[in-house]
Amino acid sequence: MQIALNINIQDQKIANFIQNKSLDEIKTLFLNFLTKEVNTLPQKPKHKWAEFGNKMNGLISEETADELLASSKEFRQDFSFRDVNSIQ
């Protein structure tokens, strides 16, 4: 990508700093500044749900998941509230 800039520098200190620098040096300074900016962009913090998901995903095999699902199905189907008629 190529960009052409025409910058009017108002700040005298900055003007003095770059006035004796070559165009290539100014380009390098500019690129270095941009690189630093990009690298220090604040990373979106991972929230705990993503962290939880990442920790859980890949823990077990497909077969084990099927066993857990079978146990869950058995648990639900076998559950019943206490039969009032069975109370002695």
């Binding site: 929230h47 705990k48 749900w49 993503a50 962290e51 939880f52 998901g53 990442n54 920790k55 859980m56 995903n57 890949g58 823990l59 077990i60 095999s61 497909e62 077969e63 084990t64 998941a65 066993e67 857990l68 699902l69 079978a70 146990s71 869950s72 648990f75 639900r76 189907q77 559950f79 019943s80 509230f81």
Partner: protein, 149 residues
């Protein structure tokens, strides 16, 4: 802010590195930090019971680790007085609308308890079990999502 209650089938599928596991993972990543993710105490009962049925030592260890992550990250919702009347009403509505007999409905008692908890908390039940879709059609107060659908 939304509260989600994950069913056992969602938690189990999340733990597998598969297409289904990835779908659930992506959904979790898309939630807001302010959202709340939880499981019913019933899901924890089922997972621990399931753990005892696994013979492979390495897999047993992995399931145990998953249960610990659930306890660490999610809120575990106990059964509460709030859902007593909701459960009674939901079970009656389900019986009336499906014509299911007394014995057949027994297998859905825990599903009805989990659904009642979701209604009481105004939470979204996340499951791949179609019973919850049926219940949400019968009782519009029940919010239902299937992250595998």
């Amino acid at each position: 802010m939304s509260q989600y209650i994950l069913d056992t089938n969602i938690v189990s599928n999340l733990q597998v590195d598969s297409e289904n596991g990835s779908k659930i993972l992506e959904k979790l990543k898309s939630l807001n930090a302010e959202d709340e993710v939880s499981v019913s105490i019933i899901v924890l009962y089922e997972l621990v019971y399931g753990l005892n049925n696994i013979n492979d030592t390495m897999q047993q260890k992995a399931v145990k680790e998953g249960i610990e992550f659930i306890k660490e990250y999610l809120s575990i919702i106990p059964l509460d007085m709030k859902e007593v009347e909701i459960f009674a009403s939901l079970k009656t509505k389900y019986k009336q609308s499906t014509g299911i007999n007394k014995n057949a409905i027994k297998r859905h008692n825990l599903d009805l308890l989990i659904a009642s908890t979701a209604i009481a908390l105004d939470a979204i039940i996340v499951s791949n079990d179609m019973i919850f879709q049926k219940l949400s059609e019968i009782e519009p107060m029940l919010k239902y999502e299937n992250w595998l659908g």
